[in-house]
Symmetry: C2
Subunit: 106 residues, 2 copies
Protein backbone atom coordinates (compact mmCIF):
# COMPACT_ATOMS: atom_id res chain seq x y z
CA UNK A 1 0.00 0.00 0.00
CA UNK A 2 1.48 3.37 -1.04
CA UNK A 3 1.09 4.83 2.45
CA UNK A 4 3.70 5.97 4.97
CA UNK A 5 3.74 7.26 8.55
CA UNK A 6 6.72 9.56 8.29
CA UNK A 7 7.55 9.88 12.03
CA UNK A 8 7.77 6.08 12.30
CA UNK A 9 10.34 5.74 9.52
CA UNK A 10 14.06 5.30 10.20
CA UNK A 11 15.97 8.47 9.34
CA UNK A 12 19.16 9.14 7.50
CA UNK A 13 21.42 11.58 9.33
CA UNK A 14 23.85 13.23 6.89
CA UNK A 15 24.97 15.91 9.37
CA UNK A 16 24.76 16.48 13.12
CA UNK A 17 21.25 17.54 14.08
CA UNK A 18 19.80 16.72 10.65
CA UNK A 19 17.38 13.81 10.15
CA UNK A 20 15.90 12.94 6.77
CA UNK A 21 13.08 10.46 6.10
CA UNK A 22 12.58 9.73 2.43
CA UNK A 23 10.02 8.30 0.03
CA UNK A 24 11.33 7.29 -3.36
CA UNK A 25 9.07 7.13 -6.36
CA UNK A 26 10.02 6.10 -9.86
CA UNK A 27 11.03 9.57 -11.03
CA UNK A 28 11.39 11.65 -7.86
CA UNK A 29 12.06 11.60 -4.12
CA UNK A 30 10.12 13.38 -1.39
CA UNK A 31 12.28 14.03 1.68
CA UNK A 32 11.15 15.07 5.16
CA UNK A 33 13.83 16.98 7.06
CA UNK A 34 13.95 17.61 10.81
CA UNK A 35 16.73 20.02 11.68
CA UNK A 36 17.64 20.73 15.31
CA UNK A 37 18.05 24.28 16.61
CA UNK A 38 21.52 25.46 15.68
CA UNK A 39 22.17 22.72 13.12
CA UNK A 40 23.53 23.25 9.64
CA UNK A 41 23.14 21.54 6.30
CA UNK A 42 26.67 22.08 4.94
CA UNK A 43 27.12 23.49 1.44
CA UNK A 44 26.60 20.83 -1.19
CA UNK A 45 25.36 20.44 -4.73
CA UNK A 46 23.67 17.67 -6.71
CA UNK A 47 22.39 17.40 -10.26
CA UNK A 48 18.81 16.92 -9.00
CA UNK A 49 16.33 19.75 -9.20
CA UNK A 50 14.95 20.61 -5.75
CA UNK A 51 11.77 22.37 -4.58
CA UNK A 52 11.29 22.70 -0.83
CA UNK A 53 9.01 24.24 1.76
CA UNK A 54 9.18 25.07 5.46
CA UNK A 55 6.51 23.22 7.44
CA UNK A 56 7.59 24.64 10.80
CA UNK A 57 10.49 26.83 11.86
CA UNK A 58 12.97 28.97 9.99
CA UNK A 59 16.06 28.46 7.86
CA UNK A 60 18.75 30.76 6.54
CA UNK A 61 19.16 29.35 3.06
CA UNK A 62 22.06 30.13 0.75
CA UNK A 63 21.56 29.25 -2.91
CA UNK A 64 24.42 30.18 -5.20
CA UNK A 65 25.38 33.72 -4.24
CA UNK A 66 22.01 34.60 -2.68
CA UNK A 67 21.01 34.16 0.96
CA UNK A 68 17.50 34.51 2.28
CA UNK A 69 15.48 33.49 5.32
CA UNK A 70 12.61 31.07 4.73
CA UNK A 71 9.88 30.58 7.31
CA UNK A 72 6.76 28.46 7.77
CA UNK A 73 4.70 28.66 4.59
CA UNK A 74 7.60 29.70 2.40
CA UNK A 75 9.00 27.65 -0.47
CA UNK A 76 12.15 27.72 -2.58
CA UNK A 77 13.56 26.29 -5.78
CA UNK A 78 17.14 25.10 -6.17
CA UNK A 79 18.08 24.30 -9.78
CA UNK A 80 20.22 21.24 -10.37
CA UNK A 81 23.93 21.73 -9.83
CA UNK A 82 23.72 24.94 -7.77
CA UNK A 83 25.60 24.87 -4.42
CA UNK A 84 23.36 25.49 -1.42
CA UNK A 85 23.41 25.29 2.37
CA UNK A 86 21.13 25.93 5.31
CA UNK A 87 21.20 27.00 8.95
CA UNK A 88 18.25 26.62 11.31
CA UNK A 89 18.18 28.83 14.40
CA UNK A 90 15.30 26.81 15.83
CA UNK A 91 13.98 23.27 15.35
CA UNK A 92 12.67 23.21 11.79
CA UNK A 93 10.75 20.81 9.58
CA UNK A 94 11.13 20.93 5.81
CA UNK A 95 9.62 18.94 2.96
CA UNK A 96 11.73 18.82 -0.19
CA UNK A 97 11.04 17.22 -3.56
CA UNK A 98 13.91 16.08 -5.78
CA UNK A 99 13.94 15.01 -9.41
CA UNK A 100 15.24 12.56 -10.45
CA UNK A 101 15.32 10.06 -7.56
CA UNK A 102 18.04 10.71 -4.96
CA UNK A 103 19.81 7.35 -5.28
CA UNK A 104 22.30 8.63 -2.69
CA UNK A 105 19.45 8.71 -0.13
CA UNK A 106 18.51 5.05 -0.49
Amino acid sequence: MPYYRIPEMDPLSPAEGVEIRVIHGERMTLAFFRVSAGARVPEHAHPHEQIGTVIRGVMDLAVGDETFTVRTGDAYHVPGGVPHSGYCGEETELVEAFCPVREDMR
Copy 2:
Protein backbone atom coordinates in the same frame (compact mmCIF):
# COMPACT_ATOMS: atom_id res chain seq x y z
CA MET B 1 15.05 34.88 -6.62
CA PRO B 2 13.76 31.31 -6.28
CA TYR B 3 11.67 32.11 -3.22
CA TYR B 4 7.90 32.07 -2.69
CA ARG B 5 5.47 33.02 0.07
CA ILE B 6 2.84 30.39 -0.57
CA PRO B 7 -0.12 32.03 1.25
CA GLU B 8 0.35 35.21 -0.85
CA MET B 9 0.11 33.37 -4.18
CA ASP B 10 -3.09 33.32 -6.25
CA PRO B 11 -4.71 29.88 -6.09
CA LEU B 12 -6.24 27.65 -8.69
CA SER B 13 -9.60 26.23 -7.64
CA PRO B 14 -10.36 23.06 -9.57
CA ALA B 15 -13.28 22.04 -7.32
CA GLU B 16 -15.49 23.72 -4.71
CA GLY B 17 -13.56 24.15 -1.47
CA VAL B 18 -10.22 23.20 -3.04
CA GLU B 19 -7.44 25.78 -3.50
CA ILE B 20 -4.08 24.90 -5.04
CA ARG B 21 -0.98 27.10 -5.13
CA VAL B 22 1.76 25.75 -7.35
CA ILE B 23 5.47 26.09 -8.00
CA HIS B 24 6.70 24.74 -11.30
CA GLY B 25 10.28 23.67 -11.78
CA GLU B 26 11.84 22.34 -14.93
CA ARG B 27 11.03 18.69 -14.27
CA MET B 28 8.43 18.71 -11.49
CA THR B 29 5.68 20.68 -9.77
CA LEU B 30 5.17 21.21 -6.04
CA ALA B 31 1.52 21.94 -5.21
CA PHE B 32 0.10 23.31 -1.94
CA PHE B 33 -3.52 22.26 -1.38
CA ARG B 34 -5.96 23.82 1.06
CA VAL B 35 -9.16 21.79 1.23
CA SER B 36 -12.18 23.04 3.17
CA ALA B 37 -14.02 20.83 5.66
CA GLY B 38 -16.42 18.63 3.71
CA ALA B 39 -14.81 19.27 0.31
CA ARG B 40 -13.87 16.60 -2.21
CA VAL B 41 -11.22 16.19 -4.85
CA PRO B 42 -13.26 14.25 -7.43
CA GLU B 43 -11.80 11.08 -8.92
CA HIS B 44 -9.28 11.84 -11.61
CA ALA B 45 -6.10 10.44 -13.14
CA HIS B 46 -3.02 11.91 -14.81
CA PRO B 47 0.14 10.42 -16.24
CA HIS B 48 2.24 12.26 -13.65
CA GLU B 49 3.69 10.41 -10.70
CA GLN B 50 2.51 11.95 -7.41
CA ILE B 51 3.89 11.87 -3.85
CA GLY B 52 1.94 13.79 -1.22
CA THR B 53 1.85 14.48 2.50
CA VAL B 54 -0.68 15.85 4.98
CA ILE B 55 0.61 19.00 6.69
CA ARG B 56 -2.55 19.51 8.78
CA GLY B 57 -5.90 17.75 8.86
CA VAL B 58 -7.15 14.45 7.51
CA MET B 59 -8.15 13.01 4.14
CA ASP B 60 -9.92 9.86 3.06
CA LEU B 61 -7.85 8.97 0.03
CA ALA B 62 -8.90 6.43 -2.59
CA VAL B 63 -6.13 5.19 -4.90
CA GLY B 64 -7.17 2.58 -7.41
CA ASP B 65 -9.24 0.06 -5.44
CA GLU B 66 -7.74 0.95 -2.05
CA THR B 67 -9.04 3.54 0.41
CA PHE B 68 -7.22 4.75 3.45
CA THR B 69 -7.23 7.67 5.84
CA VAL B 70 -4.17 9.91 5.86
CA ARG B 71 -3.48 12.31 8.72
CA THR B 72 -0.89 14.94 9.67
CA GLY B 73 2.55 13.43 9.15
CA ASP B 74 1.40 10.74 6.74
CA ALA B 75 2.47 10.50 3.12
CA TYR B 76 1.28 8.61 0.06
CA HIS B 77 2.40 7.67 -3.42
CA VAL B 78 0.11 7.65 -6.46
CA PRO B 79 1.71 6.08 -9.53
CA GLY B 80 1.06 7.75 -12.88
CA GLY B 81 -2.24 6.85 -14.51
CA VAL B 82 -3.98 5.48 -11.39
CA PRO B 83 -7.42 7.00 -10.63
CA HIS B 84 -7.60 8.66 -7.22
CA SER B 85 -9.87 10.93 -5.18
CA GLY B 86 -10.00 12.55 -1.75
CA TYR B 87 -12.46 13.70 0.88
CA CYS B 88 -11.51 15.96 3.79
CA GLY B 89 -13.77 15.93 6.84
CA GLU B 90 -11.98 18.95 8.27
CA GLU B 91 -9.92 21.79 6.79
CA THR B 92 -6.77 20.15 5.51
CA GLU B 93 -3.44 21.24 4.05
CA LEU B 94 -1.51 18.96 1.71
CA VAL B 95 1.77 19.28 -0.14
CA GLU B 96 2.04 17.17 -3.29
CA ALA B 97 4.93 16.72 -5.71
CA PHE B 98 4.30 15.78 -9.33
CA CYS B 99 6.67 14.60 -12.03
CA PRO B 100 6.80 15.71 -14.79
CA VAL B 101 5.53 19.32 -14.56
CA ARG B 102 1.74 19.67 -14.32
CA GLU B 103 1.29 21.80 -17.43
CA ASP B 104 -2.47 21.70 -16.73
CA MET B 105 -1.81 23.67 -13.51
CA ARG B 106 -0.08 26.61 -15.18
